[in-house]
Structures are given as structure tokens and as C-alpha cells.
Symmetry: C2
Subunit: 229 residues, 2 copies
DNA sequence: TGACTATTTAATGTATACATTAACATATTC
DNA sequence: GAATATGTTAATGTATACATTAAATAGTCA
């Protein structure tokens, strides 16, 4: 049997990676809400693998701040308190405004400019149609593009980590917040500053944008007593 | 091996944590330079434990960007290129200047002000005595205090992660860089801005300080062709 | 010789075994 | 009945076993 030709097996940490992806997905999609508990053995049985890859996946998720591994009670999905949100937005504020500055410094390719503008336009049309879900997706796309184009891979990865942590809280506050009209204007202004190669303006505009967004979200969380979601 | 009547054990991830600490120490202290290779089995034998805790420690170190786990060649200590240093300093620039802003906003306790000033004073005396080692330690202490006092634990942890990654490169460039006179002045100015509760000034002063420091280090690395150390 | 294949080696990813011990339940004492 | 002591359970941390497969080596034929 000609099995020596090309087996096409290349993945190495197949199960560990799979467990990591599945668990992360469940957390981000809110399938497992904050506080959800799960035992290593349960997970292993459910995912059809042994405890070893589960443990390794949990270590990674713990490092990302998504779960907490408690000595005898298994893993617990971490919640986001108003204070957590404040911390996260302070970090996003400075990292993303640095990203905006860097993008303005290095300039955009035509392709990149098109994508950025497309994201802002999508935000506008979504807002005009009162479609908050779509708006949120376009907004997230904009922020991701920004850190993508800044050229600093570490920064990108840190920002994405923050995004993941704040993701569920953002989803939940989406309906509670006022119409994000000014967000769209802010983003246009940022793109504008980037296009005219003004790093300082890009940084400052985006910094103020993120600061306001963060303060608003924290206020909402506090007002609704969403201490840990 | 480990069943020979050990002391009353109470910690839970004793070996994993121990392996993590030991390996991290070796990397930070440059006992293992960039590029150093080690096999899981070797490490297990050397540290007197099985491969399991070693693996778990390596996963953590990999997430911190200190090592790379390569499919068949064991773990490899990651080096820092000039580009890496640039990325790290861009991140430090914005995170730390945010920290300075936050500290200025919330103000210092007497104790905190004393500690910050002590760090700057130590930097001055070390510089007067041409003791770069001591200067570097005081400088690091200053930066650590800043993120410590800002009240944002996530920010603190991210900054410390950057510090760890850049640590060896900083050690090496310490003798190659010009006398860090302006660093001390910058720090005094930052403390000053914090003491008079001027968040914007604190942020901007510290931002420029970090930016310059980063640019200088990158230049040194490039000039000396230290592509990966 | 040199490219190409078969064979061996060894490091890994995963599964499983096992001793430990925190958490819970039950029993005991006053 | 409350508090403490004792026993039981079960989840974990670690060790070990094992199958897989990338890399190294030897072997084969042009």
C-alpha cells in the first residue's frame, strides 16, 4: 500500500490546539458566561481527548486572562467588572493611539486606505439602518485594521488580547449605550489625520475617542450594576 | 523519585511553578543566551521532575515571548533583534506614559513620593559614581514603581512582560550607550509633573523620554549589528 | 559520486496511572 | 444542637507509558 508517498500530516499539537480553539470560542461567543465552571475531566470526556491537552489549553487561556484555574473546582470563566473594563480601556486607549500614530507615520497603501474607509462607511450605513450588530462588527474591523497596519506585531497581539477580554462586555452594553454617532465621526477624523500623514493628530484624535468610549462603557456598567458579566 | 517522603506539601502546582521560575531566571540572567536549545527530557532530568511540569512551564514561557517551542528541537531561547526592540519600546512608550498620566491623576501618597524620589536620587548618585549597574537597577526600579502606582494591574503586568523580553538587550547595550544624564532629568521632570498633579505633562514628558530611549537603543543595536541577542 | 529510498532513532503529543489532599459527608462528644 | 473529629470522595498535580513522526543515518542503484 503506497502509504509512503505523501501523508500530508503536518499539525503537531493537534489536540491541544483544538481544545484551545474550542474553549476560547465558547467563552468569546458567550456560550459559557462568566462564572461558568468546568472540570478537566468533563472537558476531556466531552471533547474526546485526555486531560493532558485540556490542561495545556487551560494554561494558555489563563495567561490570556479568560479563565481562572482554581485548585479544586476546575476552570472558571472570568467576568468583567467595571474596574476591569476601565483597566482594559486605559490600555486600549494608549496602545491604539500609538498604532494610529505609527500608521500615520508609515502611511497607507491604496489597498489599506480602501479597507479603512470601507470599514468607516459600513459603520455609517449600519448606523443609518439602526443595525447595531453590524455596526459593532464594522467598528471592531476598523480597530483591528488599525493595529494591523501599524506594523508592530506585539502591539497587535496585546490589543487583540484586550479585545478578547472585553468582548462579551461590549456585546452586552451595545444595546445600553447611546447611538454611536460620534464614534463614526472620530474614526473619519482619525483616517483623515492618517491620510494627511499627521501622526500627532492621529494619535490625539484616537486617544480621545478611546478615552471617551471607555469612560462611557464604565459608566454604563456602573449604572446598571453590571459588576461582573 | 519524588515519593521519598518530601516535606509537607501545600502548594498545588509546586513543580510546574518551580520549573517556570527556574527556567525564567536562567533566561533573564542570561545564563541561557538567545538561541540556547534544551530538550524537555534534559530539563526534566536536570530539575528532577517529569516532563509534564516542564511542558506546562514552557507553555507559559512561550506565551510570554521568552522561548519558542519548536516541534523536534526542544525549546529555544528567543533573541531580541533591533526590530523587536523597536516594537517593545513603542509599547513601553505608550503604556508607561499612560501610567504616568494615571499616577498624576490619582496622586501620590507620601510613601510613594518618597520611593519615587529615592529611585531618582539613586540614579543620580550612581551616575555620579559612574556605576552603570547600579544606575540601571535604580532606573528599572523607577519604571516599576510608576506602573505599580498607576493602579492598573493589567497595564503593570503588560509592562513587566515587555521588561522581561527586553532585559538582556538592555543589559548588553548598557555599556554601549552614552551616559544617561538626560534620563535622570526626564525622570525628575516626570515626578515633578506628577507631584503638581498635571497628568498631561506627566504623560508627555514620559512619552518623549521613552521614545528617545527606544530610538537610541535601536540605533545602538543597528550600529553594532546586534541583530539577535 | 550523488540522488533517492529504506531504516533507525529519538523527541514529541497524548493517554493513562497514581499518590495527594481539599472538600464534603458522617459520626462523636459535650 | 454546635463544634470537632473522622472517614470518604473526587479533582488535581505529577509520573510514566506509548504511538507517532520528523530527523538522522545507512543503504541502493543510476
Amino acid at each position: 500500500m503506497a502509504n509512503t508517498k505523501q501523508k500530508a500530516v503536518k499539525a503537531r499539537r493537534l489536540f491541544t490546539d483544538e481544545a484551545y480553539e474550542i474553549l476560547k470560542r465558547r467563552i468569546l461567543d458567550n456560550e459559557w458566561p462568566a462564572g461558568h465552571l468546568a472540570l478537566e475531566q468533563e472537558l476531556a470526556a466531552e471533547l474526546g481527548m485526555s486531560r493532558t491537552p485540556i490542561r495545556e489549553a487551560l494554561i494558555r487561556l489563563e495567561k490570556e486572562g479568560l479563565v481562572e484555574v482554581r485548585p479544586r473546582h476546575g476552570m472558571r470563566v472570568l467576568g468583567i467588572s467595571a474596574e476591569d473594563m476601565e483597566e482594559i480601556y486605559e490600555i486600549l486607549t494608549c496602545l491604539e493611539s500609538m498604532a494610529a500614530e505609527l500608521v500615520a507615520k508609515r502611511g497607507l497603501t491604496d489597498q489599506q486606505r480602501a479597507e479603512l474607509n470601507a470599514a468607516v462607511n459600513d459603520m455609517d450605513t449600519a448606523l443609518a439602518q439602526d443595525n447595531l450588530e453590524t455596526w459593532a462588527k464594522a467598528d471592531e474591523r476598523f480597530h483591528k485594521l488599525l493595529v494591523d497596519y501599524c506594523g508592530n506585531r506585539r502591539l497587535k497581539s496585546l490589543v487583540e488580547g484586550c479585545f478578547d477580554q472585553a468582548h462579551r462586555a461590549r456585546l452586552l452594553t451595545l444595546k445600553l449605550r447611546p447611538k454611536p454617532t460620534s464614534s463614526n465621526e472620530d474614526h473619519r477624523a482619525t483616517v483623515n489625520a492618517i491620510e494627511r500623514r499627521d501622526p500627532t493628530a492621529a494619535r490625539e484624535i484616537h486617544r480621545l475617542h478611546r478615552m471617551r468610549a471607555g469612560e462611557m462603557l464604565v459608566e454604563i456598567l456602573n449604572k446598571h450594576g453590571l459588576s461582573s458579566l
